[in-house]
C-alpha cells in the first residue's frame, strides 16, 4: 500500500526544504538554557508551534503544492494510485515529525536534567506532543475535506462546526465523552493557550483523548482519502 519512493522523496523534500525546524528547536532550547525562562510554559509553546507546523506541512506545504502546481500529474501517470500517494506522503511527514519529536524530547530532557530538581514524566513529554500532532493531523484532514467543498473557508467552517458540536456534545452526561470533548476544544481549536496544559491535566487527557482521537483519525483519514481520490487534478 505504501510507495517507498514517495516516502523517500517526501523525506528528502522535508530535510532539504524544512531544515530550519530541527535547527530552530535546538537553537531555542539553547536560548532557554541560557535565558532561564520558565521552561515548562515556553516548551509547551514550542510544541504547539511545531504541532501546528506539521499539520500545515501535511496539507498546504507538501501535498497541496504537488496538486496545485501540477507536479502530481507526472507522478500519477506512473503505476501509483492516489491513495498510495497520499498515505506515502503522510508516512514521510510522520517519520520526519517523529525524528523532530525525538530531538525535542532529548533537548528537553537535557535541559530539565541540567536545571535539576524537577520530576520528568517521560510519558507526558512523548505522548502528549504525539497526541497533539495526531490531533492536528485530524484537524487538517477534516479541514482539507471541507476545503474541497467550501473553497477558501474550510478552516473557518471547521472552527465553527467543532465549536458548535463540542458545545452541544459537552451536554452529554458521560465522563469519558466529556474528557474527549474537552480534549477537542482545548487541543484542536486554535486558542492561544491551547497547549499550556498542566502536567496533571495532561495525564487525564491522555487516557481517553489519545484513544478517541486515534479513532477519529482513522475515520477522517478514510473520508480524506476518498475526497483526495476524487479531486480533479488537471487544469484547463
Amino acid at each position: 500500500m505504501i510507495s517507498k519512493p514517495i516516502v523517500k522523496n517526501t523525506l528528502k523534500e522535508l530535510i532539504r526544504t524544512r531544515w530550519a525546524i530541527p535547527i530552530g528547536i535546538i537553537a531555542i532550547g539553547i536560548a532557554i538554557l541560557i535565558g532561564r525562562y520558565c521552561i515548562e510554559y515556553v516548551l509547551w509553546g514550542i510544541y504547539s508551534i511545531i504541532i501546528f507546523g506539521f499539520s500545515m506541512l501535511l496539507t498546504t506545504g507538501i501535498i497541496d503544492s504537488d496538486i496545485s502546481d501540477g507536479k502530481i500529474q507526472t507522478i500519477l501517470t506512473k503505476p501509483i494510485s492516489c491513495t498510495q500517494y497520499f498515505l506515502s506522503k503522510a508516512l514521510g511527514v510522520i517519520i520526519f515529525g517523529s525524528a523532530i519529536i525525538i530531538i525535542m524530547a532529548i533537548s528537553t530532557l537535557t535541559i530539565m536534567s541540567l536545571k535539576g530538581g524537577t520530576e520528568i514524566d517521560i510519558k507526558i513529554w512523548f505522548l502528549l506532543p504525539l497526541a497533539g500532532i495526531i490531533a492536528h493531523i485530524l484537524w487538517t484532514l477534516i479541514s482539507s475535506t471541507f476545503s474541497t467543498f467550501i473553497k477558501n473557508s474550510g478552516n473557518v467552517s471547521m472552527i465553527i462546526l467543532i465549536a458548535i458540536l463540542s458545545g452541544t456534545l459537552s451536554l452529554v452526561p458521560n465522563e469519558k465523552f466529556k474528557a474527549v470533548i474537552t480534549f477537542i476544544r482545548e487541543y484542536i481549536l486554535p486558542q492561544p493557550d491551547a497547549c499550556l496544559i498542566s502536567l496533571q491535566e495532561g495525564r487525564a487527557f491522555l487516557s481517553s483523548g489519545l484513544f478517541h482521537s486515534l479513532f477519529y483519525i482513522v475515520l477522517c483519514s478514510i473520508v480524506g482519502i476518498f475526497i483526495l481520490n476524487h479531486r480533479e487534478l488537471g487544469k484547463r
Binding site: S3, K4, P5, I6, N9, K12, E13, R16, T17, D69, G70, K71, Q73, T74, I75, L76, T77, K78, P79, I80, S81, H230, E232, L233, G234, K235, R236
Partner: protein
C-alpha cells in the same frame, strides 16, 4: 493493427458557482491504432488539453469513457505502459535532474541495478548529461522540457502522450524530439501528440484530428492530404479563430 486508444462519447463541462458553465469537451469519440503518431490539433481553448487530461484520468468526465489497451486508465498495468509529457512541466525543485529521473524510474518499479544503467543513458539521450548534478530550480524552460521527456520515456512506453513537447526548445531540441518520436514509431509504439507546431506535426504524424469549440471536427491521414497542414488548419478552424 490493434486499437490502442479508444475514446467514446467523452463530455466535460466546467461549472463555476455564479457564472455560466463552459462545455470544454462535447461528446467526442475517436480511436488510435497501434503504431500511429496521432496529432491532435486545434486553436487555443478548443479543448485539446482537457481531452488529454480526461484520457489520462486527471479529470472526471461527465459522460463517456477512455480505454487504453482495452482497459481503464487507472488500471496499474496500463499506467506502467504509458508516458506523459505535460504542457508545463513542473518538478520538485530541490532535486537534481539525475535524482528526478531516478525517482520516476523507481515509481515505474525499475530496480536499482537497472536504474543505474537506464538513468545515465536517458540523460545522454535528452541532452542533460552535463547538467545532471544541477538542481532543477536552476534549469531553463528548455531543460525542463527535456527532463519531462526523459521521465516519460524511462519505462519504454507503448503509448507516449505529448502535450506541446517542443515548447521552449531551441531548433536542435525540436529536431531531437522529432527524432525521438520517429524512433518510437519505428519500434511499433504509439504517440498521441498535442501541438501547435504544424510543421513538426506534418513531419511526424500519420493521422491528425481537428478540434474546434469542444467538438471533434474531422480526422485526416497526413499522407492523403492534398494541401499543406497549415492550409487545412486555416480552412477547418476558420480565420476568425487565429
Amino acid at each position: 493493427m490493434n486499437q490502442i486508444i479508444k475514446v467514446n462519447s467523452l463530455r466535460k463541462t466546467y461549472k463555476k458557482w455564479g457564472s455560466k458553465s463552459v462545455i470544454a469537451v462535447d461528446n467526442i469519440s475517436f480511436e488510435v491504432m497501434q503504431g500511429e503518431v496521432f496529432g491532435f490539433l486545434g486553436p487555443n481553448g478548443a479543448g485539446k488539453t482537457t481531452t488529454l487530461l480526461l484520457m489520462l484520468g486527471f479529470l472526471t468526465p461527465d459522460a463517456g469513457e477512455t480505454k487504453l489497451f482495452g482497459r481503464k486508465v487507472d488500471d496499474m498495468k496500463v499506467r506502467s505502459k504509458i508516458g506523459y509529457v505535460p504542457e508545463k512541466p513542473t518538478f520538485h525543485k530541490y532535486l537534481t535532474g539525475e535524482e528526478l529521473l531516478s525517482f520516476h524510474a523507481e515509481l515505474y518499479g525499475i530496480n536499482k541495478e537497472q536504474r543505474d544503467k537506464i538513468v545515465p543513458e536517458m540523460l545522454k539521450k535528452i541532452g542533460l548529461e552535463n547538467d545532471k548534478k544541477k538542481k532543477i530550480s536552476t534549469y531553463s524552460r528548455g531543460m525542463l522540457q527535456r527532463l519531462s521527456l526523459g521521465q516519460a520515456l524511462l519505462n519504454n512506453p507503448d503509448i507516449l502522450f505529448l502535450d506541446e513537447p517542443t515548447l521552449g526548445l531551441d531548433p536542435i531540441g525540436i529536431v531531437d524530439v522529432r527524432n525521438i518520436i520517429l524512433e518510437i514509431q519505428q519500434q511499433g509504439k504509439t504517440v498521441f501528440l498535442n501541438s501547435h507546431q504544424l510543421s513538426e506535426v506534418e513531419k511526424v504524424c500519420t493521422r491528425v484530428a481537428f478540434m474546434k469549440q469542444a467538438k471533434l471536427i474531422e480526422t485526416y491521414k497526413v499522407s492523403e492530404l492534398k494541401e499543406s497542414l497549415e492550409d487545412l488548419f486555416v480552412r477547418i478552424i476558420g480565420r476568425d479563430k487565429l
